[in-house]
Subunit: 260 residues, 2 copies
Amino acid sequence: MLTWADYICRMLSKSQISFIKSLHHKKFRKETQLFLVEGIKSVVEFLNSPYKIKIVYYTDDIDKKFLTLLMQNNISTDLISQQDLQRISALNSSTSVVAIIEMGIHTIDVAYLQGKYSLVVDGVQDPGNMGTIIRTADWFNIHQIICSENCVDVYNPKVVQASMGSLARIPVTYTDLSVMLSQVASLPVYGALLHGQAVYETQFMEQGIILVGNEGNGISLNLQPYITQAITIPKFGKAESLNVAIATSIICSELRRPKG
Amino acid sequence: MLTWADYICRMLSKSQISFIKSLHHKKFRKETQLFLVEGIKSVVEFLNSPYKIKIVYYTDDIDKKFLTLLMQNNISTDLISQQDLQRISALNSSTSVVAIIEMGIHTIDVAYLQGKYSLVVDGVQDPGNMGTIIRTADWFNIHQIICSENCVDVYNPKVVQASMGSLARIPVTYTDLSVMLSQVASLPVYGALLHGQAVYETQFMEQGIILVGNEGNGISLNLQPYITQAITIPKFGKAESLNVAIATSIICSELRRPKG
């Protein structure tokens, strides 16, 4: 069986392209523990992180400073044609860089949740929403993100893109949330529900968990008993609901907002 | 020249499909002043609005209550095959309804901005961001949205989808923002910039304008002189920036947040 390394050489063959394109799909990302990151800004964020970059494919219009940075960090690079880059890219945007990166291994240590705020995400499906949630959590200094197993894969190229490099900084794990939440009974769990205390009146403790749910259905019924404080964002107009990334961001903003 | 009505009959011909699909593109939406709305929830929102629905295409697995509602409102309908519906849909999501709707004519009356809050959007390109901004503005009772001419078209199917029906309620206009802003000198303009007063400390007046900018470049330099109060969302973590829809939502939340 060929490993990723067998595919790395100067010219992209059909089988190399096919291998890289397989990383557009969750199944192959899981098998190989590799994922794609596109665009210079995002690749630089992963370079400055514990993640290991396997190789960076670039085209000849690349920013030379970026290339020097890669060289200085002993990152393998490969100059390929614009056409080949478009073939391996999972995004429609015009990028000049695609990197193959090794997934980190993130595990949850329940003790590790103490003294901080974590974000628990139940069933979020949309890659753009998930990426935006990661980016926003990074802005508001949320310590880590714990996802239910039916959430979209955070190594999905669209999630990586929307996270704007924040995925390189925030540990994300997948687990059975009911098991996890049952183990952290000492922590307050602030759950975003349609009917709860107005988030503007919520007194957030020093440590805790923010729990947000699926785009259409909210937080699963089996998780709701773990909520110690139901919170809601008051409605002033007529929209039926808020987007989950928007709701998460407003809650995070309220959490960090100076008191008084 | 054929009008839209010539294309409406019981079976979808190639030219009908081609006409409907032309509405995926801004040029033809502008020419015909028609746009597409997909999904029952969104179509119901437009049904309960001043917009005029021309026709609703549906498949045989349609919710009968919805069909009855259309009949009661004398809306033209056409039962088509699942295959045809997929052909005319602009979205990848599985929908069972596509409606053709007439654009409303929204004009800006500067006097109309008085005594309320309006959102002014400069150069937002991403359809998902624009749709989410419209939905969030609707939640927070923002009166209207005024876009620069280089913003994404709000009748783009992806914008319509992300707005979750709120486009049916909030008037959106396109104009030269520097001309518009020069005419409303009596109103405070709160501009979202990287360096400004912390939004948590901002005292919002009774009426005004929230100004937000492009995803990458923020508010255009030529519009910045119209800002009477630069505001910023304080950073607590490490992300370089916030998504524009997220920033807009946090500002709107602060605007509506009860004082004290």
